[in-house]
């Protein structure tokens, strides 16, 4: 069976141009010769267009700089002043708001426009909202956090609201991926350990609601809607898209490369 594409191009308003040549070469090497290229890492970038005032749920699929700090993700005041990011706090179901402000030395302020001494970070796989104050195409550039042949495992607790996203740049059906290693997609399947009735909330920026899907291995494609009715196809994501995961039991989410 052919592996699904790791990165798809041409998504409207969300476009990725990773260094496909290098990536494809590495992938082909694995497929054709079973070469053990386990230590190689891949760099790339994603261009994500966001509109003024729109609430876009994102994830940074790259390691950028030393800490994935907002100053490293948007260097040199590349984010328009007073653009906001919302960082989810699952303990109290609130967001902490930060805003860009080039009037301060580190370029960032809190929601009250007071300076902050510690800049927020956006680790790989952690979702967040971006509300730009002008139309902007964000260029996220860095190393893919998962080396070729390796997997990234995230422990998700039963009932927790995890604002997350793919640890690797990926677009397509959420069910794609090697069940054991996660290579080739987001690997959201029962075979990969996802418990039934785990919910996936996909943000709709047009009406400020979430479309809720849930895993159900009783259906052919493994997914149902919020009312547990079958869906024609599993949900899909675009590169850099964040989403909520609400597990129905503790499990490890495995995403590989």
């Amino acid at each position: 069976m052919a592996r699904p594409p790791l990165v798809l191009l041409g998504e409207p308003f969300m476009r990725t141009k990773t260094l496909l040549t290098a990536l494809a070469a590495l992938a082909a090497g694995i497929l054709t010769s079973n070469a053990q290229v386990y230590s190689a890492n891949v760099v790339g970038y994603a261009s994500v267009a966001t509109q003024n005032g729109a609430y876009t749920l994102l994830v940074i699929p790259f390691q950028i700089g030393t800490s994935n700090g907002v100053n490293e993700i948007w260097p040199n005041a590349s984010l328009p002043d007073f653009s906001q990011i919302l960082i989810w706090n699952p303990n109290n179901f609130t967001y902490t708001t930060y805003q860009s402000d080039s009037g301060y030395a580190n370029g960032w302020a809190d929601v009250n426009d007071n300076p902050i001494s510690s800049l927020p970070t956006l680790p790989v796989g952690k979702g967040f909202f971006l509300i730009p104050s002008a139309n902007i195409t964000n260029t996220f550039s860095g190393a893919i956090a998962v080396n070729v042949g390796n997997s990234n495992k995230v422990s998700l607790a039963n009932g927790a609201y995890n604002l997350a996203g793919g640890a690797v740049p990926y677009a397509g059906s959420v069910t794609n991926g090697n069940p054991a290693t996660g290579a080739g997609g987001l690997n959201m399947t029962a075979a990969a350990g996802w418990p039934d009735f785990t919910q996936l909330l996909i943000w709709n920026p047009n009406n400020f609601t979430y479309a809720t899907y849930q895993t159900d291995s009783g259906y052919a494609n493994g997914w149902a809607d919020v009312n547990d009715n079958p869906v024609a196809a599993p949900p899909t994501v675009t590169v850099g898209q964040g989403f909520f995961i609400i597990p129905s039991a503790d499990f490890n989410w495995t995403v590989g490369l």
Binding site: Y95, N114, F129, I131, S133, N207, F208, T209, Y210
Partner: protein, 238 residues
């Protein structure tokens, strides 16, 4: 788990979610020395020296988000047309959301939400319901809260002369549909120049806080003369 359901469900008749924040790219304020508040029969525009609302010692300004339920499909006139909004400001048409702000200490004109909230809920503002909204701002010498008997709204409705240094103003209007998810749409946003599927956020840079009327010098002089006359009369009687 109950909290989870409340946070993410879209339930009919339930309160919707709004984002209460005051981005400096969308709203700022400044005082205006022109004593022409439309509330008291003056014009709606005018020159005058424009001053800072920066939070320095002894100078504070308060802001409150108001809404009304008379949305008719388009933006209502805000500060530019007192006949449409100011006339009804104290008549019970505009309701207090309870979402407030003060002037920021970081730079002139900026506001600080108190507190900021991406999941703000307003009594009477349901999911999917579009309401008109404006921000009112005033100087701290008028009071610290908007509503109630001792609130600023009551003071403005019942008084016509104020202490020097009293200011009041209203932002441009917006209209927003509260959402079923958190975060809700921003009530104030730099995208407020164009309506979206969620409405038209307030976009009101350089909102003018006009000086409120103070007793005129002639009135003060007449009062002084009256008092002086009384003193003279008392002396003659003695």
């Amino acid at each position: 788990m109950t909290l989870c359901v409340v946070t993410f469900s879209v339930a009919a008749y339930s309160q919707g979610f709004l984002t209460w924040s005051t981005s400096a790219s969308a709203i700022t304020a400044q005082t205006n020395s022109t004593s022409i508040s439309p509330l008291f029969g003056g014009g709606s525009t005018g020159g005058g020296a424009q001053g800072s609302t920066i939070n320095t010692a002894g100078t504070l300004f308060y802001y409150e988000l108001l809404f009304n339920t008379s949305f008719n499909g388009s933006q209502v006139a805000g500060a530019s047309s007192p006949s449409n909004s100011f006339a009804t400001l104290f008549g019970g048409t505009w309701l207090d959301t309870g979402l407030s702000a003060t002037n920021a200490s970081s730079a002139a004109g900026r506001l600080s939400p108190n507190p900021g909230n991406t999941g703000a809920q307003v009594t009477g503002w349901g999911v999917g319901v579009t309401n008109n909204c404006v921000v009112v701002g005033w100087s701290a010498n008028l009071g610290t809260v908007w509503g109630g008997v001792s609130g600023v709204s009551n003071l403005l409705a019942t008084t016509s002369n104020f202490a020097a240094g009293s200011f009041f103003g209203v932002s441009a209007a917006g209209f927003i549909a509260a959402a079923g998810g958190n975060p809700g749409p921003a009530v104030i946003s730099s995208s407020g120049q164009t309506a979206t599927s969620q409405g038209l956020p307030i976009f009101s840079l350089n909102t003018q806080l006009y000086a409120l009327p103070v007793p005129e010098p002639t009135t003060i002089a007449l009062a002084g003369l009256g008092g002086l006359s009384l003193l003279l009369f008392r002396r003659r009687k003695v």
